[in-house]
């Protein structure tokens, strides 16, 4: 504090006490009264610390020393602590800060403007809808384009109206946002795109999901994977004992409305030793699963209905020595209003092996919207899991095939090699049984 301020401070305090504080809200007035009371109280010498004085967030300067002695450091500045004392009981929107309230007024005005604009656009849409297509320049196609464009603009405005509301932001960050409202979906999508989307696209690229399983895959929904209540980051290797039971998915879609989706869990690395190649296997297939922005939990074990479950969960396994298996979870959106005949699916894909997601997608005109993946390798529990589910192949292992050199074998050279035969029997004591050199199968090159 500068000297000048130090001199002026008691004076200012006197003045402040005399002139009436202009209350901004009732809360502020109450706070001011409280502050005054406290000031009066603090002027009296002997006093007991209140509950607020024992809290490091709201301790007054005179009780700081006691608190520090007790091992609790006061939090923040003294100004902040006084503010915390006075504003704890005031709702957020009524906080007695003039700049804050002014800013809120500006934001409210902006929101009014946006709402008015929305109404205007909605009126336009209604007018255009009621208009005959023949009267619109460009015919039916132009009318549809215009309507779509207007609706898109309305959606944008809906987000714009609420995007500056601190309470909306707070509610979203507390996880209380209503996903049926566009603003919360907007926030959620922005959050997802900032990290999880990038991660999942990286996994799609680095694990070659895109050329191997689908020619194109750009997820638009957030799919999270949980095994036994533990979230599995995409691409992690999951123990076969953990993945024995079907996982739970948390699916968040960012566009409005309910829709039906199909769910496929596909192993893209089934070793095929006869053809010296890899094939694919379907580990789970379900269709007609309802999904909407506010329904996020999707436990695979709960999908049991006859018109949903086509191929039940098969525990992922990997044989010994085989490279890791990529198990992808693919969420495919069905056409609006279209349901898939699950009996047909059962008939088509009961064999599991040789499942092609590309052909499944084309056959039922689906669009892939969500993706997640995990990996499975041979581990200590795999043999037991395979035995439990009657899966053959736990007793075999894959070993790398030896590739022999293209060069012709060369005769061993050297003094000893030349003297290995019986003609040099008198030299055998020098040419045989050489330390550190196996000579059992004839003279060999030292490895």
């Amino acid at each position: 504090m500068s000297r000048c301020q130090a001199v002026a401070r008691p004076l200012a305090r006197q003045l402040r006490q005399q002139c009436a504080i202009r209350p901004f809200t009732t809360g502020a007035a109450r706070a001011a009264a409280e502050v005054q009371q406290q000031q009066q109280a603090s002027s009296t010498p002997a006093q007991q610390p209140s509950a607020l004085d024992l809290d490091p967030n709201s301790v007054l300067p005179e009780f700081e020393a006691d608190l520090i002695k007790a091992g609790k450091m006061p939090v923040g500045s003294r100004r902040r602590r006084v503010a915390m004392r006075t504003t704890a009981s005031i709702p957020f929107e009524q906080l007695p800060y003039q700049a804050f309230q002014e800013a809120r007024a500006i934001l409210a005005a902006d929101r009014q403007e946006k709402v008015a604009k929305i109404q205007e656009e909605l009126a336009k849409i209604a007018a255009l809808e009621s208009k005959d297509a023949a009267l619109v320049k460009g015919g039916q196609s132009m009318k549809d384009t215009k309507l779509a464009s207007l609706r898109r603009y309305v959606e944008q405005l809906k987000i714009q109206a609420d995007i500056n509301d601190p309470l909306v932001k707070k509610r979203f960050e507390d996880g209380l946002g209503d996903m049926n409202k566009p603003i919360y979906r907007h926030y959620a999508e922005r959050k997802w795109r900032s990290y999880d989307y990038r991660l999942i696209t990286q996994r799609i690229k680095q694990f070659n999901i895109v050329p191997d399983v689908l020619p194109k895959l750009d997820p638009v929904a957030d799919v999270q994977l949980y095994f036994r209540h533990a979230k599995i980051p995409p691409g992690n290797v999951v123990d076969s004992l953990v993945s024995e039971h079907p996982p739970r998915l948390r699916v968040q879609v960012f566009d409005a409305g309910a829709r039906l989706v199909s769910l496929v869990v596909l192993d893209a690395d089934v070793p095929d030793a006869e053809n010296d190649a890899f094939s694919k296997r379907c580990h789970f297939l379900a269709a007609n699963i309802p999904l909407s922005p506010d329904q996020t939990s999707l436990p695979l074990s709960r999908i049991t209905a006859d018109d949903q479950l086509a191929v039940p969960w098969l525990a992922p396994f990997s044989q010994k020595g085989a490279p890791y298996h990529r198990l992808g979870i693919y969420l495919l959106q069905q056409k609006p209003g279209a349901t898939i005949d699950v009996a047909q699916l059962k008939q088509l894909y009961a064999a599991r092996d040789g499942f092609s997601l590309k052909s499944f997608r084309d056959k039922f005109s689906l669009t892939p919207v969500g993706f997640n993946m995990f990996r499975s390798v041979w581990d200590d529990n795999t043999a037991a899991v395979m035995a439990r589910h009657n899966l053959p192949g736990a007793d075999v292992e894959f070993r790398p095939t030896r590739v022999h050199s293209l060069k012709p074998p060369v005769k061993p050279r050297g003094w000893e090699a030349k003297r290995q035969g019986p003609a040099y029997r008198h030299l055998w004591k020098y040419t045989k049984r050489i330390k550190g050199l196996s000579n059992a199968r004839g003279w060999t090159k030292r490895r």
Binding site: P211, D276, E397, F398, V403, S405
Partner: protein, 272 residues
């Protein structure tokens, strides 16, 4: 030079004229000699040699760069396909590039030299395909062609060893003593029970003894070097002292400065 080329007929004429006139003379006149030398292309030592820098050296060590396998040739993993300085060629399908930009094969198959505008507009690639008829690059968004490169073998299970020898006594016994680690004793061919030598060696760790004063060999050598340096320095000092005190005989005891001062003070007090 130009002068001479122009004047050559004249010079020749001069030479022709001069020759018959001095038929018997052994040495031709100096001017004519010079002219002749120039005409014939001889060079005397007084004239500096030129142009040697243009001659290439006859032999050097060849780098042996270039293609080591032609297109469609059969290769196995690890084969060198192309040696180069810099990246004239890039590794394509089933190939990798080594530390010195050498292209190696990574699969058993057939070599293909190709361009892939989808990957890079002006790079040349070397790839290996599994089928000789395939052409590179493979179509965009097509599934990768992969080979398992593994064969199936039944897992060998270890045969459980009998715990008791044919003579009815166990192969292994454990000696348990309080306050000591358990010791595993094994039956030997002479029917004695003895611990494995490597297990005995492990026991050192359980004692908590510090066998080495120095953590690393380097530290030990450094310490030895310093110790020797200190010793040599001390010996030199002692030698100097000895020389000062009259070449041998009684050696003065080394006293620190502080101690000397104290002794002097004490002596002074006594004198008083």
């Amino acid at each position: 030079m130009r002068f001479f080329t122009i004047q050559r007929p004249i010079l020749a004429a001069v030479a022709g004229i001069s020759r018959p006139s001095v038929v018997n003379s052994v040495v031709a006149p100096l001017g004519a000699q010079l002219a002749n030398a120039l005409v014939e292309g001889r060079r005397n030592a007084s004239v500096k040699a030129q142009g040697a820098y243009k001659k290439k050296s006859k032999r050097g060590i060849p780098n042996k760069l270039g293609a080591k396998r032609t297109g469609d040739q059969f290769v196995i993993p690890g084969n060198i396909l192309y040696k180069q300085r810099g990246t004239h060629w890039w590794p394509g399908e089933n190939c990798i590039m080594g530390r010195d930009h050498t292209i190696h094969s990574m699969a058993t198959g057939y070599v293909k030299y190709y361009r892939d505008p989808a990957k890079h507009p002006d790079r040349k690639y070397i790839g290996v395909v599994f089928n000789k008829d395939d052409t590179l690059p493979y179509p965009l968004h097509a599934e990768r062609k992969r080979k398992l490169n593994k064969t199936v073998h039944t897992i060998r299970t270890e045969v459980a060893k009998a715990e008791v020898s044919p003579s009815g006594i166990p192969f292994e016994v454990t000696r348990v003593e309080a306050g000591e680690p358990d010791r595993l004793l094994r039956l030997r061919s002479d029917y004695s029970y003895r611990e494995d030598n490597w297990r005995i060696g492990r026991l050192v760790k359980t004692t908590g003894l510090k066998t080495k004063a120095f953590r690393t060999r380097k530290q030990w050598f450094r310490h030895r070097r310093w110790r020797r340096e200190r010793e040599i320095a001390g010996q030199k000092e002692a030698e100097k002292k000895r020389a000062e005190s009259g070449g041998g005989g009684k050696v003065m005891k080394a006293i620190s400065k502080k101690a000397a001062k104290k002794a002097a003070k004490k002596a002074g007090k006594k004198a008083k």
